[in-house]
Amino acid sequence: MSADRGNVKILVFACRWCGLIGADGAGRKRIELPSSFRVIPVDCAGYVEPDAVIRAFASGATGVAVLGCHVGGCRFNDANHPALKRLEMLKTLLDTTGIGGNRLLLGFGTAHESHQYADMIVDFHRELEGLPSMASWLSPGQ
């Protein structure tokens, strides 16, 4: 199976309080990032349904990133704890079936960490480039 170079599509769910602001900080600093990602702002990482992550893969994303707040710094009374637990469980499932848990990036940090968010996206993009294509998952033809 050929590597997925040139076909990286990352869907980013970013929490408005940390992830999105961190990403915004990267924009302010004009840090150059690959244009392979799309952002869906959510109010809290808790809003990210694992089903939606699965749907994203089914709709052609080759990677999904969920950016939320520090584990202890959630605006919603630790609503991000169950979110983190759920998504880690989903990574286990993705690992089992060979889609690979490494296609799901969880980044729970703070709003100030714009450099880190930027690095994370760049590294994630690079990692996805090296992974085999997901085409056989999407077109089940013989």
Partner: protein, 281 residues
């Protein structure tokens, strides 16, 4: 083993502990089918084989009947765990349910890859040691290898799916109406084989913390996809990280639903920064 179960069922009916006993009956032409026994006399037709999960049926019966109605169910280990999960999800009223538990023999356990081939409340038979499913060759074949190999194996399996929904319908815990798997938003309709990513992953993930590893989905699958194997690593992860196993304690909900304070990971601190690429900024 059959006799003590029949005895127990008769007792329950005689003492009016329950209004009916749900079990398998050998009926006309020796056809075996689930049946609610209501009189002690009937019980003589009660049989235990083959393996037939009755949990969902018990739920349906209890929903139909008035609230005063009590039901006893003859259960194996997996069936009891499924009932516990249903109780946890408010599908069955704990007070209205009695179980008559019997253990499976080693052969059955091996066939089912069952790690707990006995109910917690055991009325007949003696518990035999379970099998570690993850150590079995049939399972290992699907969990071994690198991502590429597993992807190949699984796509080869899943593309045989004919989208009969048998896995969902046979599952003793899948009770949702409507079901996400029938919704266009999640799974493209009118497409066969079913969308491999969405259909199977959504189904498997919904059961991640609920699956009692009864194997009903796998047995129901007409094309023989090893569906239970999908759940095993998630079950193992729950056990390892939170010491949780579905179907054991009706009072403990899935740890995935709670924050780290209420459901901590034993032996691990709450991480201050999580980055699944394993780097700390």
């Amino acid at each position: 083993m059959l006799e003590p179960i029949r005895q127990k069922a008769k007792e329950i009916l005689e003492k009016k502990e329950a209004d009916g006993v749900l079990g398998l009956r050998k009926g006309l032409w020796d056809v075996i089918h689930p049946h609610v026994f209501t009189t002690p006399e009937e019980i003589d037709a009660l049989v235990l084989e083959p393996k037939w999960l009755l949990a969902k049926m018990a739920r349906a019966i209890l929903r139909e009947k008035p609230r005063s109605y009590r039901l006893a169910v003859a259960v194996r280990g997996c069936d009891e765990r499924a009932l516990v999960e249903l109780i946890k999800r408010n599908q069955i009223d704990h007070e209205r349910l009695l179980t008559i538990g019997y253990a499976c023999d080693g052969g059955q356990a091996k066939a089912c890859l069952c790690s707990r081939p006995y109910p917690q409340k055991l009325d007949a038979g003696s518990a035999v040691e379970g099998v570690d499913p993850l150590a079995d060759e049939r399972v290992k074949a699907y969990l071994e290898g690198d991502a590429g190999e597993r992807m190949e194996k699984w796509t080869a399996q899943l593309k045989r799916c004919i989208k009969c929904y048998g896995c969902r319908n046979s599952c003793p815990i899948c009770v949702c109406v409507p079901c996400k798997l029938e919704d266009d938003v999640w799974v493209e309709r009118g497409v066969i084989p079913a969308e491999m990513v969405s259909f199977h992953h959504i189904r498997a993930f919904h059961l991640s913390d609920t699956c009692v590893a009864c194997g009903a989905c796998q047995e129901a699958c007409p094309v023989g996809i090893p569906l239970m194997t999908l759940q095993l690593s998630m079950r193992a992860a729950l056990k390892k990280e939170y010491h949780y196993e579905a179907g054991l304690d009706a009072n403990r909900k899935s740890p995935v639903l709670f924050d780290f304070e209420k459901e901590p990971r034993p032996g691990q601190d709450v991480p201050d920064w999580v980055d699944s690429m394993g780097k700390k900024p």
